[in-house]
């Protein structure tokens, strides 16, 4: 395996790692990897991508084959990094940028920062508030949901620093915090109906988008990724439901 093949393999696996880790679609990652490797016509690639694992095999014309595998930890959604990876791939394939430059750019992409933490916590709060109103809760319900969203956002940001926490656990804690605040505000008299508050405030946690992407993977014939994402979505939902029901039961009210 000469130097060029080593570099291409390293570039392609790192690129795929960043793309899947930040929520890119599985088919797009596989197609990008194939196009990158077969740019010069000398190699062909078979890329196997599932949400937790990437394996790329490059075959030369002689029939030699090299494989590299990586395991993906800590998936989240970060559209800016996905777009940047897409741009690097386009620049390598169509504008013929040298390989070493592209590899260096991947390090820069990995170092891109999110919005600031207080902006993100405020977004959680706005989502809870807006969805409570959209789901026809009263204005005081929405206010309670906004406050619950702030605490939920703070908890999710703290737990988001750790890469390997189970989605069951993080969502259970998030939803427990929401339900506790909802019921406390209800018993004080500020919120009108704790059910509306809880349903509205859950929307940032709920894996609705994940199930849509899972069905998309199934439609494209990628049954492994589709099933894996569905199971992850169900695991997240049961964490949320467990958090809510436990807290409401502790407060003496079985929903």
């Amino acid at each position: 395996m000469n130097n060029h093949e080593k570099n291409i393999l390293r570039f392609v696996v790192e690129l795929g790692d960043i793309m899947v880790k930040n929520g890119a679609e599985i088919q797009r990652t596989e197609q990008t990897i194939q196009k990158i490797v077969s740019r010069d016509g000398k190699y062909t690639a078979q890329a196997f991508v599932v949400p937790t694992y990437i394996s790329v095999t490059i075959s030369t014309e002689d029939g030699e084959a090299f494989t590299k595998t990586t395991v993906i930890h800590g998936r989240r959604v970060n559209l800016e990094k996905v777009i940047a990876c897409d741009n690097v791939a386009i620049r390598y394939i169509y504008h013929r940028e040298p390989l070493q430059q592209c590899i260096d750019e991947l390090e820069a992409i990995d170092a891109l920062t999110d919005f600031k933490t207080h902006v993100r916590i405020f977004s959680y709060s706005l989502i809870s508030l807006a969805f409570t109103i959209l789901f026809r809760g009263t204005v005081m319900d929405a206010f309670t949901a906004g406050i619950a969203g702030i605490f939920q956002g703070a908890a999710m940001e703290i737990m988001g620093k750790y890469d390997d926490l189970s989605p069951f656990f993080t969502n259970a804690i998030g939803s427990a915090i929401i339900s506790a605040i909802a019921y406390i505000f209800y018993s004080i008299g500020i919120a009108d109906n704790y059910n509306s508050v809880i349903i509205g405030s859950l929307m940032p946690l709920v894996p609705g988008f994940a199930i849509t992407m899972a069905v998309r993977d199934l439609m494209y014939g990628d049954y492994i990724s589709g099933t894996a994402k569905i199971v992850e979505a169900l695991l997240t939902s049961i964490g949320i439901a467990a958090g809510v029901i436990t807290v409401l039961w502790l407060f003496g009210n079985v929903l």
């Binding site: 559209l79 977004s123 109103i133």
Partner: protein
């Protein structure tokens, strides 16, 4: 006091899309387009749902609109399609159904749980079907302004 106005619905749905775009780290200059798209998504859905009493129809037409709008924006700014589609489609995705699946299981109400499961997959499938309809149409249907990247298609 429940707010039931289409204009406030548009504003709050746009707020939702903006907040999800922030959480998903979308590039700042494009967030406003996601917001407009997301606002229309919810308004079309609720309008059609109240008019025809068929939820699936509302989801279908609304996600067709979101996909078409995202495709126009993606050709206009030369950015990938998913950037505009992902934050705007969030009001339509079957979020509360997913929660209700597990709530039904934990409360031993299996019929409710199953009906919510089927509804969740139905809406997800509808959204993906309209996404694929728009995705498979030829690109020249979505150009509204002459752009350097459009030249090869004319």
């Amino acid at each position: 006091m429940v707010i039931d106005n289409p204009f406030t619905d548009f504003i709050f749905s746009a707020i939702t899309s903006i907040s999800f775009a922030i959480l998903f780290n979308a590039p700042r200059s494009k967030i406003i387009y996601c917001a407009v798209c997301g606002g229309f998504a919810w308004v079309i859905y609720i309008g059609l749902y109240h008019a025809t009493d068929i939820e699936s129809f509302g989801v279908f037409v609304s996600s067709l609109f979101v996909a078409a709008f995202s495709r126009v924006c993606s050709h206009k700014f030369n950015m990938p399609f998913t950037l505009f589609f992902v934050p705007s489609v969030i009001p339509l995705v079957p979020g509360s159904q997913m929660y209700n699946i597990m709530k039904g299981i934990l409360q031993n109400d299996m019929y409710y749980s199953f009906s919510q499961t089927v509804k969740a997959f139905k809406f997800a499938g509808i959204i993906m079907a309209s996404f694929m309809i728009i995705y498979l149409l030829p690109s020249y249907m979505f150009f509204f302004k002459h752009n350097r990247s459009n030249d090869s298609f004319k």
